[in-house]
């Protein structure tokens, strides 16, 4: 455990500096992690956390500064040597191979040769004992985000590291799964493994971590004991200003039903996809409906059916403002006032290699009338993109930069802003604040609440229950392609939702209902 001041730190960083053209990502950062310590690394998106951990893992090389491992200076030339040293890392943007199986992916992340059969057995054992069930022979592209993250975690655990770097590991887990993983991490910590933990969930850091280092703008700000701080004080240290909780509207005026779904059943056309069965719900104007659920329970299929990427056999299945739209494609639905923020912001929500202006145009050209007889209205498009950047505080050098040059949080603000500015009647948002820092998350939440107050129907699909509780009026749970009845916030607790999410999901051995209740 921490607090043994006489012991040599497992890892010590001294004066780590890394400059990119035009920005100093890390400016003389010091960090000390003791053996068995769970150390939080806190900071907004763009504070330099990712750069710092990539330097520790050998993906990047520091311009200046020393890395001291168990008392001796080391140089970590590449991830192979990091793994050999005893450092494992779970990436935020997964480093997975979509066309390969779980086992192959894990073998690729380990140095040296592996016996595939033995490895498979190992995966099953380790994944079950840590409550992260995995099927070794599944192809990765058939898995949900949450399941993909489990692969990354198991891949590290199999190598028995001395230092585990975790970049936002719980953002896609249920509360029960997260709690299970905390037990794992605490166990690893007791076994003497140091953990460098990056998360935006401040309550989680308070509950789990022994120490926290706070970065802001690439600089070391302070080190503190998170158990002695409040979530609010931690957040304020990160962003350097005072933070305001989202202002919730009192459930006063509910408008007419704007999004109606009746008996939506779709058979998955992909191997291992989830069949949707008889889904019914309404969202009224002025209302935020939250849909909770563990990744891979039909969220992807439901979102595709709502956005129009998958069409329904019967037009009456989905109605926007009483218009049957089940057979219409995405653009026709957008014409009727639907806006959509997909789960995957790079690749689905935006074209990574295209400029912000082009990305703005692609989703907004109809609602914002940016097309003149087949030609792009360039002036209008730049105005629209600048408007998004300005109103939604997107930090970018300019609207002519590509989408993939933005950090995750900033790109998410851009995508949400792009949809909100189209003044939708109905907006569907998947995982609105996944991997987004506290300041940006609060801003996105407030934006969605304001939109609802102005009469729009808002549907939020998320795995972050704190988020759903902060902004929703009603919450429903999706499990194995079925949606539970939406219940008012006052009538349901986090525990009940957790049970609905996990209970029916066939993870009996590891996710026992009994040990939760």
């Amino acid at each position: 455990m921490s607090g043994n001041e006489g012991v040599t730190p497992q890892l010590e960083l001294r004066g780590i500096t890394k400059a990119y053209p035009g920005c100093l990502a890390n400016d003389h950062i010091d960090l000390k992690i003791m053996p068995g310590e769970i150390h939080a690394l806190l900071g907004e998106n763009g504070a330099g956390k990712s750069t710092l951990v990539k330097i520790i893992y050998g993906v990047l090389q520091a311009d200046e500064g020393d890395i001291i491992w168990a008392g001796a200076p080391v140089s970590i030339a590449n991830p192979h040597s990091a793994r050999k040293t005893g450092i494992g890392m779970v990436f935020q943007h997964f480093s997975l191979f979509e066309a390969m199986t779980v086992t192959e992916n894990i073998a690729l992340g380990m140095s040296g040769r592996q016996n595939m059969k033995a490895l498979e057995q190992n995966i099953i054992e380790v994944s079950n004992s840590y409550g992260l069930p995995l099927e070794p022979n599944r192809q990765v592209h058939t898995l949900s985000v949450g399941e993909k993250q489990r692969i990354e975690i198991v891949r590290c655990l199999l190598q028995k590291p001395k230092l585990l770097i975790m970049d936002e590991p719980t953002s896609v887990l249920t509360p029960q799964e997260a709690e299970k993983m905390f037990e794992t991490l605490r166990r690893l910590s007791e076994e003497g493994v140091s953990i460098l933990y990056i998360s935006h969930k401040l309550d989680e850091i308070k509950a789990l971590c022994h120490k926290a280092t706070i970065l802001r703008g690439g600089k070391y700000i302070s080190e503190c004991d998170p158990t002695q701080e409040t979530a609010k004080s931690l957040a304020e240290m990160m962003i350097g200003t005072n933070l305001q909780a989202p202002e919730h509207h009192e459930t006063s005026k509910k408008g007419p039903i704007r999004l109606k779904v009746r008996n939506l059943s779709i058979d998955a056309d992909v191997e291992f996809g989830i069949n949707l069965s008889a889904i019914n719900f309404d969202v009224r104007g002025g209302e935020i409906l939250g849909i909770a659920g563990v990744a891979g329970n039909g969220q992807i299929e439901l979102l595709a059916a709502l956005s129009g990427e998958t069409t329904c056999r019967d037009a009456e299945t989905i109605a926007l403002d009483d218009k049957a739209v089940g057979q219409l494609g995405p653009n026709s639905r957008r014409d009727l006032g639907l806006a959509f923020v997909p789960e995957d912001r790079l690749g689905h929500g935006s074209v990574p290699e295209m400029m912000l202006t082009e990305n703005a145009f692609l989703s907004g050209f109809r609602r914002m009338s940016l097309l003149n007889g087949g030609f792009i209205n360039n002036g209008g498009t730049s105005d629209y993109a600048s408007d998004i950047v300005q109103k939604f505080d997107v930090r970018t050098p300019g609207i002519y930069h590509t989408a993939n040059s933005l950090s995750g949080g900033n790109l998410q603000k851009f995508i949400v802003g792009r949809e909100v500015l189209q003044q939708p009647n109905v907006i569907i948002v998947a995982h609105p604040t996944w991997g987004v820092d506290a300041g940006a998350a609060a801003f996105i939440h407030q934006t969605l609440i304001d939109l609802a107050e102005n009469g729009a129907a808002v549907l939020v699909v998320s795995q972050d229950l704190d988020e759903l509780f902060a902004i929703s009026d009603r919450i429903a749970v999706i499990a194995e392609g079925r949606l539970s009845v939406g219940r008012e916030l006052s009538e349901i607790t986090i525990e009940e939702i957790g049970l609905l999410m996990g209970g029916t999901h066939g993870m009996g051995e590891t996710e026992g209902v009994s040990d939760v209740a």
Partner: protein, 309 residues
């Protein structure tokens, strides 16, 4: 048996027509599996063909000739690698340029050798077995390159799906960014894959100039490089199917000759269209099933890798 006497010679010619396709196809398969699209197969084959021919003519040593062809193809591929992997030029444009360059270069190199005869690559003669009726001439009396082509398919299959190095190569083709972040040298791996592809194309070309028609003529590959490229799509990037496809496409080429000889009234142009037509049909069929494409087609094919943060 007497009514089927024509079968053995037909099978023998199909084998000779298919072998260059097997070499070029299996080499390009490895290149594409690493995420690189090299459209210069035709050019690499021609340079391999002429290099092999000159070496055989000058030294009389066919082993050296095949090595020279492989080396020449690999050098061409290395050139392609420098342009596309190190200098990040567009792969499609560079590949087309490589073909045009190869056509010109091989013509220049072979100028003085057009029409010079050499003896064809020796057929193996295994006492006893080669004289067996029917299967003797087909299975036990081929030249070494035919056997090598089958061995290469087996080796590549084994390498790609049974070894860690093969897994890494496929991983680089599936997601170069993920491979990079785990710590694999993406560019170096692609160089090796591209050069292997070049060496195999070179040998495929040499088969034409040393065994199929033992002579050198300008442009003697006559579009086989393009058939090899189509073959990989036809085979949905599976080594075993490359072999099957090569024999089907090789068979069609032979069919052209025999159909004409037999007085069949099918225009030869229609028959030469068949491989491409078959490829298009396969493309349409596999495109209907997304998960099948994702399983075998390298996702990063033709994409430039920028090793940024």
């Amino acid at each position: 048996m007497s009514g089927f006497d024509w079968i053995v010679p037909v099978i023998l010619t199909v084998i000779t027509a298919a072998t260059p396709l097997v070499f070029a196809g299996i080499g390009e398969l490895v290149t594409e599996k690493s995420g690189v699209l090299n459209l210069g197969v035709e050019g690499m084959m021609l340079v391999g063909a002429v290099s092999g021919f000159i070496t055989a003519l000058v030294t009389g040593n066919y082993f050296l000739a095949v090595c020279a062809a492989a080396f020449a193809g690999a050098v061409m591929a290395f050139l392609f690698g420098v342009l596309t992997l190190s200098l990040m030029a567009n792969q499609v444009a560079t590949g087309l340029a490589l073909t045009l360059f190869g056509v010109g270069l091989s013509a220049l190199m072979g100028q003085e050798f057009v029409g010079e005869p050499i003896s064809a690559l020796n057929k193996l003669n295994i006492a006893g077995l080669s004289d067996l009726p029917f299967i003797g001439p087909i299975l036990f009396a081929q030249d070494a390159l035919v056997y090598l082509s089958f061995a290469m398919v087996a080796i590549v299959s084994w390498f790609l799906y049974k070894t860690k190095a093969g897994l890494v190569l496929r991983a680089v083709g599936d997601s170069h960014d993920a491979a990079h972040s785990i710590g694999y040298p993406v560019i170096a791996i692609r160089y090796l894959a591209v050069m292997f592809g070049g060496a195999m194309s070179g040998i495929g070309g040499a088969y034409l100039s040393l065994a199929y028609t033992p002579m050198w003529a300008e442009n003697m590959t006559a579009g086989r490089g393009w058939i090899a490229l189509a073959l990989i799509v036809f085979a949905t990037w599976k080594p075993g199917l490359v072999l099957v496809g090569a024999y089907m496409f090789g068979g069609i080429t032979i069919l052209q000759l025999h159909a004409q000889a037999a007085g069949l009234n099918v225009p030869s142009q229609v028959l030469s269209m068949l491989p491409y037509l078959a490829t298009i049909i396969v493309l349409v069929l596999i495109s209907k099933d997304e998960s099948r494409i994702r399983k075998h087609a390298p996702a990063c094919i033709g994409k430039i890798f920028h090793p940024a943060a």
